[in-house]
Amino acid sequence: MSELFVPVLLTIITASTPLVFAAAGEVVVEKSGVLNLGVEGMMIVGAVIAFAVGVKTESAALAIISGAAGGMLTAFIFGFLTLRLLANQVATGLALTIFGLGLSALIGHGFVGKTFSGLPKIGVPFLEQIPVLGPLLFVHDILVYLSVIAVFLITYVFNKTRLGLIIRAVGENHHAAHSIGYSIVWVRMGCILFGGSMAGLGGAYLSLAYTPLWVEGMTAGRGWIALALVVFASWRAWRAFFGAYLFGGITIIQLHAQGFGVDIASQFLSMLPYLATIVVLVLISNNSSRMMLNAPADLGKSFHASD
């Protein structure tokens, strides 16, 4: 039994990790009251830069760092436009996605068909020898561990630290937070940059470990699914983590379904993650009082002291 299921479960982890990064990062961004719809764009820029650096330097560490930096730089454009120039967040996010897809294709032009050796697997000493659970949970590449640590840290920061409280205050009522002396722009900029680097890591995981190849438009809507996951998770990082695994599971099961003799055209199975997103959104938003309680009150609003 385990010989059959461990590989399937392992691929689920691989498919879910990019979503974990992107969704957890966006939780932080939205908690600070900013709606960044450019996750897809930041992810794909992270993916292409990580891959390009990986191919050029053969160094996994450099590739990962530059993927995160790529996402962060893209996020900076968004932060500058929405925070300093008070541009509409929805429109700027869309622009970021369009720009990111174009820019990544331009950068990745010379890297189509190149290969990267993939990320090395690191086993946790002793724990990796546990039968079944060992290979399943304790032999992964660095980014899988990092995704779990990041979710844990984000949850901790929001629930137990002053920093988390400040971010939440800025997201709930920016005028109140401003009046007691917090810099709305810098708190939000910090969160946007963090979210960008997380999206970049998610993209880097796609191009370094998931495929590992560069294909134009390879994020294929994952950034958008991550945005839906944030709503699904009602703005909690650990719920976003489980949501990401749910979606990763659906993605992989759809791939294996035909192997198990399910006689449906592959396109219909590929629709499942997108359909599931819609269904989940409907179920969540149907309970509007709960939505209102959890959504940051100033989500998506521009801040200017004179307003």
Partner: protein, 359 residues
């Protein structure tokens, strides 16, 4: 330097900022070209002048602008009402399948009613697909940004299924393409020896109609009020639900129309890739055109030029045509950035202002 809220929206800046954005995009574009090792002046000529230096080129520009303008006009209604339909690409695809499907069903017809029928089916197809996020938003309060986008991916998969399966041309050597539409299912060419088709005329008719609807009709007024002041719209007794329906159906219908025009105009059959992202580019067109039908027409032409320029740059300068996407994204960035001047004025903080009371 800091921003100061203007007492009133600056009318002048509303029209100046697109011009400013275009100029900035040109300048940054030249910088990028020189970075890529291409002579910037040469590149700008290749990109923006050469493609339209012949009758054929101008005709091609209009062909490309047709879907962009149509979709952008529809989106203007949505965006004005603060409704974020970003699934126009999916609505275009379903429209193309609905209209094109009718053409395939009557593949040996020569009836003059086939073409109008296809266009109507296309509009209905787009409306159905846009109706889903509208329904979900009204009934469950579901965020329309995400649902309309997810429906785009689903629409593209339906297209892929149909042309790999039931709609594949039986005599097509297994290529994933439908059979060709009959002559009666193709939009007539209106300028000999070019690809300029009747769709351009349809677009030119839609522009004033949409203008009247938006500026002088009650529906347009309600849409604008709901977007600018939702509370006032409520007090006035406008029905929010109806406005959501109307703006979604207008934009879905126009996107569906654009899809049918694409397949029955320049393409002539159903193929795996119907649109190179017109539905997304149209978002930029709508904003650049100030959410106004006439503006959409002008900005649609400009954006069509970036497609032609991208293709030309690929052939002449050996640049990847992804440059187009970079240009389009940059244009929207600059536009959004300069739009700050519509509501705020830049104030250079000097001696005088330092000692003024800040309200």
């Amino acid at each position: 330097m800091r921003l100061e809220l203007r007492g009133q929206v600056s009318e002048r800046m509303v029209y100046c900022s697109p011009v400013f954005a275009v100029i900035m995009t040109f300048l940054t574009g030249m910088l990028i070209f020189s970075f890529l090792g291409v002579n910037p002046t040469q590149a700008i000529i290749t990109f923006f002048v050469e493609p339209v230096s012949s009758i054929d080129g101008v005709a091609e520009l209009c062909v490309k602008a047709t879907p962009l303008v149509l979709i952008a006009i529809g989106l203007s209604f949505c965006f004005r009402a603060n409704i974020w339909n970003i699934g126009a690409e999916g609505q275009l695809t379903i429209g193309a399948l609905a209209g094109g499907g009718l053409g395939l069903l009557f593949f040996n017809s020569s009836s003059q009613f086939l073409m109008p029928g296809m266009l109507i089916f296309g509009i209905l197809g787009g409306m159905v697909w846009a109706g889903i996020p509208a329904f979900l938003k009204i009934k469950f309060g579901t965020n329309e940004i995400l649902t309309s986008l997810m429906l785009t991916y689903i629409a593209l998969l339906i297209l892929s299924y149909l042309i790999h399966g039931p709609w594949k041309d039986p005599e097509g050597q297994n290529f994933p393409e439908s059979r060709l539409f009959p002559e009666a299912g193709l939009l007539p060419i209106i300028l000999d020896e070019t690809r300029l088709h009747l769709g351009w005329i349809i677009t030119l008719i839609c522009v004033p109609v949409a203008w009247i609807l938006m500026t002088y009709h009650l529906i347009g007024f309600q849409i604008r009020v709901m977007g600018m002041a939702p509370m006032a719209s409520n007090f006035a007794g406008f029905r929010g639900k109806n406005i959501i329906w109307i703006s979604f159906l207008i934009s879905g219908g126009l996107a569906g129309l654009a899809g049918t025009i694409e397949v029955s105009g320049p393409i002539g059959q159903i193929i795996p890739v119907i649109s190179p992202g017109y539905g997304f580019t149209a978002i930029i067109v709508a904003f650049l055109g100030r959410l106004h039908p006439i503006g959409c027409l002008l900005s649609g032409l400009l954006m069509a030029l970036t497609y032609l320029g991208g293709d030309n740059a690929q052939i002449e300068l050996n640049l990847p045509n992804a440059v187009t996407g970079v240009f389009q994204g940059m244009l929207l960035f600059f536009l959004l950035a300069s739009d700050v001047l519509v509501r705020y004025r830049i104030q250079i903080i000097g001696y005088k202002n330092k000692h003024r009371n800040v309200e």
